[in-house]
C-alpha cells in the first residue's frame, strides 16, 4: 500500500500531549482507542480545523501543514484542503433541507449545484429525503446525508468521527458496506474513528491503536486484535484478560506456562524459562464447553473449570465473568445464540478451554504492568 497521507504532528494541552505519526494509503484506516485518546484531535488537524504545535501533514505531495523551525510555516485553510469530514452527530445544517445540505459545497457551480446534489442523493438512494430537514430524518438517514454532503465536494480524504455510534445494527452494516464500496470506487483515503471493535472489524482494512495521544500499533485489523504488540495495545483492544504467568518450558514446539497453579500450553513465542511474562487471550477465544458433547481435538488442552460470577447478553454477544480454579477472573464472550442452551446462571460451574493458539505473550518494547491488569 503506497502511503498517500503522511502525518507527524504534535500538540500540547495542559494535561495531555498528542504526538501522532501515521501513513495512510487508499484504504480505510480505523483509529481505535478510548475516548480522550486524541482521535478526534487528529482528524481535526488533518482537516485544518486545528493547528498542531509542530510537525507536518502531507497529502499526495501537497503540504497541508508544516511547522518544523521558526519562519517555516505552512497551514493551508480547511476550505482549500479538500477533506470531507463526517462529524460525530453529523453537523447537518438545520436550516437547510437534505438537498440544500448536499448542494452546500457546490454553490460555485451555479444552477448545476442542485442538479449534481440531486444526482448524488440518488446514487446513495436518498432521493426520497431530498426535501426533508435534518430534524425530520432518523439518525441513520442524517448520517447518510452527511456522508453525501462530505463527498459532494469530491474530497481526496474522507474523515469519519464515530459514524456508527448512533445507528442500529442493520443500518450500521449497510453503512459499512456503502463506505467500503465508496472508498474503492472513489479511491479515497479514509480515516474512521471508533471505539467499537465490531465496527473496526466491519469496516477497516487497517487499524491504528491510539492511546494517550500516541499511535501504539498499526496493522491489519485481525492482526492487531489477535496479536496486540504490547500491554498498552492489548488494554485498548481487549481491556480484560491480561495476566502474568511463569514460563516453565520453552521449545520450538511451544511454551508451557504456569499461571498461578494453572498449566497452560501456548504456541512458540520468544520467551525465557523462568521469566514472568504478560499474557493475553481475547474473550472470544475462551471456549465454553457443552457438558453433554464430545470435545474436539483442538480444545483438549488448556481446560479449566470455573464459576460464573456475572453474565449478561447484549444484542448478539453474551459476556461472562468467570472465576477460574486458580482464583483468577477472566472475561468470556460468545455469540448470543449459544447463550440460552447453555442455561448459564451466576454461581454455576462451567468447563472452559483457553485455546492454545490464542495465547499471546505481550512482549512489546515498553511493557509496563499496571497493577489493575495483573
Amino acid at each position: 500500500m503506497t502511503p498517500r497521507l503522511r502525518l507527524d504532528i504534535e500538540k500540547c494541552y495542559d494535561s495531555f500531549e498528542l504526538h501522532v505519526e501515521l501513513e495512510v494509503g487508499s484504504e480505510i484506516m480505523v483509529l481505535f482507542g478510548p475516548s480522550g485518546a486524541g482521535k478526534t484531535t487528529t482528524l481535526q488537524a488533518i482537516s485544518g480545523l486545528l493547528s498542531p504545535d509542530a510537525g507536518e501533514i502531507e497529502f499526495d505531495g501537497e503540504v497541508f501543514f508544516r511547522r518544523s523551525r521558526p519562519g517555516d510555516r505552512v497551514d493551508l485553510p480547511a476550505r482549500h484542503r479538500g477533506v470531507g469530514y463526517v462529524f460525530q452527530g453529523y453537523a447537518l445544517f438545520p436550516h437547510l433541507t437534505a438537498l440544500e445540505n448536499v448542494a452546500f459545497p457546490l454553490r460555485g457551480h451555479k444552477g448545476r449545484g442542485k442538479v449534481e446534489a440531486a444526482e448524488l442523493l440518488e446514487s446513495m438512494r436518498l432521493q426520497h429525503l431530498a426535501h426533508r430537514y435534518p430534524r425530520e430524518m432518523s439518525g441513520g438517514q442524517q448520517q447518510r446525508v452527511a456522508l453525501a454532503r462530505a463527498l459532494a465536494a469530491r474530497p481526496g480524504i474522507l474523515l469519519l468521527d464515530e459514524p456508527f455510534s448512533a445507528v442500529d445494527r442493520p443500518m450500521r452494516e449497510r453503512l459499512q458496506r456503502d463506505l467500503r464500496r465508496l472508498q474503492a470506487e472513489l479511491n479515497l483515503v479514509v480515516l474512521c474513528v471508533t471505539h467499537n471493535l465490531e465496527d473496526a472489524f466491519g469496516v477497516g482494512h487497517r487499524l491504528a491503536v491510539v492511546q494517550d495521544g500516541r499511535v501504539q500499533q498499526v496493522g491489519r485489523v485481525d492482526e492487531v486484535l489477535r496479536r496486540p504488540r504490547d500491554l498498552r495495545a492489548a488494554e485498548v483492544v481487549g481491556v480484560s484478560n491480561v495476566f502474568h504467568a511463569l514460563v516453565v518450558e520453552a521449545s520450538a514446539d511451544g511454551l508451557v506456562l504456569d499461571w498461578d497453579g494453572l498449566r497452560l500450553e501456548a504456541p512458540p513465542q520468544h520467551a525465557e524459562v523462568g521469566e514472568r511474562v504478560p499474557v493475553y487471550i481475547r474473550p472470544e477465544d475462551i471456549k465454553v464447553l457443552y457438558p453433554d458433547r464430545r470435545v474436539g481435538e483442538a480444545l483438549r488442552t488448556n481446560r479449566v473449570t470455573g464459576t460464573v460470577v456475572d453474565h449478561h447478553a447484549t444484542g448478539s454477544v453474551a459476556s461472562l465473568r468467570v472465576d477460574l480454579s486458580n482464583g483468577r477472573e477472566v472475561e468470556v464472550r460468545f455469540p448470543e445464540y449459544t447463550y440460552t442452551p447453555l442455561a448459564i446462571s451466576t454461581g454455576g460451574a462451567l468447563d472452559l478451554c483457553l485455546r492454545r493458539e490464542s495465547i499471546v505473550l505481550l512482549t512489546g518494547p515498553d511493557v509496563a504492568v499496571p497493577p489493575a491488569a495483573v
Partner: protein, 212 residues
C-alpha cells in the same frame, strides 16, 4: 409640523437602525466568538448607555462631536444641531440592545456547524452569511427591532446634541415635548398614539419571533 417631525423621525431612525444592525452584528460576533484581554470592560462600556441618564449620554456626545471635540478638531465635521447628530445619538442608545441580542443568538449556534462549512469549502464570510447568520436570525432580528424602537424613541441625548429645531432636527418625541409645553394637546395626543402603537407593535413582533 407633524409631517415634518414624522419624516425626521423616520429618517433618523432608518439611518440609526442600519448602523445599529451593521455595527451591532459585528460586535456581537466578536463578543460571542472571541476571547481577548479587556473584553468584559469593552462589553460593559457598550452597555453603559442603557443605564446612564440620557443627559449624561448627550453630554458625552457633545464632548465627542462638539467644538473642541475630536470630530471638529481632526475632521472639521460640524454635526451638532443637525439631524446627523440626532441619528448618532439614536445609534448610541440603540446599539447595546442589538449587541446583546446578536451576541446571545450567535453564541447559540453550534461552532461544529461553522467548522462543517469550512471543511465544505466556505470562506469566513461564507460561513457567517450562509450558516451563522441564518441560524441566529431570530435573535438578530429581535435585537434589530428593539434597537430600532429604542432609536425611534430617543429624546434626551438628541435634545442635547441636535437641539429641537422644527423641520431640521425635531423628531416625534421632541415634538410631543414641544406640543405639551404649548398646550397643543391635539398634536400631543396624536403623536403619543402613534408612538405607543409603534412601540407596542415592535414588542409584539419580538415576542412572536421568540415564540416561533
Amino acid at each position: 409640523m407633524i409631517g415634518e417631525a414624522l419624516l425626521m423621525s423616520l429618517k433618523v431612525t432608518a439611518v440609526a437602525t442600519i448602523a445599529i444592525v451593521v455595527v451591532g452584528l459585528a460586535l456581537g460576533l466578536v463578543m460571542a466568538r472571541t476571547r481577548f484581554f479587556g473584553k468584559s470592560v469593552i462589553e460593559t462600556a457598550i452597555l453603559v448607555p442603557l443605564v446612564l441618564p440620557p443627559t449624561v449620554v448627550g453630554y458625552y456626545l457633545l464632548l465627542l462631536l462638539g467644538s473642541g471635540g475630536p470630530l471638529v478638531e481632526w475632521f472639521s465635521l460640524e454635526v451638532v444641531f443637525t439631524w446627523h447628530a440626532a441619528a448618532f445619538a439614536s445609534f448610541v442608545v440603540g446599539l447595546p440592545l442589538m449587541v446583546q441580542a446578536s451576541k446571545a443568538a450567535i453564541a447559540g449556534v453550534d461552532p461544529i456547524l461553522e467548522n462543517a462549512a469550512r471543511t465544505l469549502g466556505s470562506s469566513e464570510p461564507g460561513v457567517f452569511f450562509r450558516v451563522t447568520l441564518p441560524l441566529a436570525r431570530r435573535g438578530v432580528l429581535a435585537g434589530a427591532v428593539l434597537g430600532g424602537a429604542r432609536a425611534l424613541g430617543e429624546f434626551g441625548a438628541t435634545l442635547m446634541v441636535a437641539g429641537n429645531i422644527p423641520g431640521r432636527t425635531q423628531t416625534m418625541p421632541l415634538l410631543i415635548y414641544d406640543a405639551v409645553q404649548r398646550r397643543d394637546y391635539v398634536t400631543a395626543n396624536l403623536m403619543v398614539l402613534v408612538m405607543t402603537g409603534l412601540a407596542f407593535f415592535s414588542l409584539w413582533a419580538v415576542r412572536r419571533l421568540g415564540d416561533s
